[in-house]
Assembly symmetry: C2
Homo-oligomer: 216 residues x 2
Amino acid sequence: MATDPATWPTRDRILYAAAGLMAARGYHGAATRDIAEAVGIQQPSIFNHFASKAAIVEELFEYDQVIPAERAAALVREGGSPACQLYRYVEWQTRWYLEIPFDLRGLREELIAELGLESARAALQRFRRTLNRIVRAGIEQGQFYADGHDFLYPALNALGFEVVRLVHLEQALGDPRRLADAAASFVLRATLSDPASLVAVRAEARVLAGADGPLR
Amino acid sequence: MATDPATWPTRDRILYAAAGLMAARGYHGAATRDIAEAVGIQQPSIFNHFASKAAIVEELFEYDQVIPAERAAALVREGGSPACQLYRYVEWQTRWYLEIPFDLRGLREELIAELGLESARAALQRFRRTLNRIVRAGIEQGQFYADGHDFLYPALNALGFEVVRLVHLEQALGDPRRLADAAASFVLRATLSDPASLVAVRAEARVLAGADGPLR
DNA sequence: CCTACCGATCGGTAGG
DNA sequence: CCTACCGATCGGTAGG
């Protein structure tokens, strides 16, 4: 997809407009007429591209849940210490939300159950399992502080949210890699039993990722 | 307010039902008819207690923004090191969300602007200023890691969310004070330039709070 | 706190 | 991708 939404195919422009409006006013607050107006088409034309309003959201959850869950699982398969896996995931997540053009903050988890979005539900479950596995292994091996994991999942969510917020404020973000490292370091400082080992974790991650790991 | 919502005055039961439904389906997804049904009255009767649907939300923001902002400012006035102030605020916030009966997760910040809720807007601004002051002082004094503050505000929000989620899952939470300490410790480990100083920060907070500080 | 009801807006369909 | 339109539901009012 090109960087300027105005040049995109209608289908993608619908996704883009829907995401933005739902981020501002929530799923029920974003009317299909508002979405159509932002795209520059009439409201019923939306249903030539999507079977329903829920189908638009389902596709947005692909970016917000399905792909991140797959990536987390892939990073675990690539090995490394639990802290290294966590570091690499947060780093990847940050760069992911920086790269995609959609504002996904309107995608509250409750929508998955309300709209019956099966693939998103399965992805969320998979992601939580993967994260739990990393945390449990890290605690067993003494790499993670034993009590910190209660807040890890919401902390990850919050960092994702914050990155999206910063992107859509068009704030000066600086280098994506620097921001990704800052986010991952924040999480790991809160989680590592020995925060001084963060330097070693970062080095381990760099080796595993190679000099210039691709985003996807 | 008693612990069983069924025994409350109608006005409070409207607040309780509205909060719960908005947490599940968002502001626009929670219809006044749904709220009335949960309360056990007819839909138009709601407007005998509140001038509008927005007025219900405005009162809920009192618990979610106005009171926390006041408390943060009060804690700063009570002194102590910046880390101590931050620790005490997170601890208080956790106990606050554990104590109040409302599920406030439907109160997205964007609602404040959309509905023109002036007191909530002012409180949010005040809270952010207070938090920035603490963080700036902590960095200047070398107590906080200089790069961590980007993620502090969203991290605080996330912890609040998570506590509310745990409460409404009716999960075994154990001692509120233990959970409050865990939340505050999580934030401070991510923020302190020397995480080992957390023990000293905790001790400083205990002295300032006295043996048994009241919640309000 | 109720019944009766209002105009506005909702997601979606028919048919081209 | 459009116009015309549907039944359902929305927040809120009138009047008791």
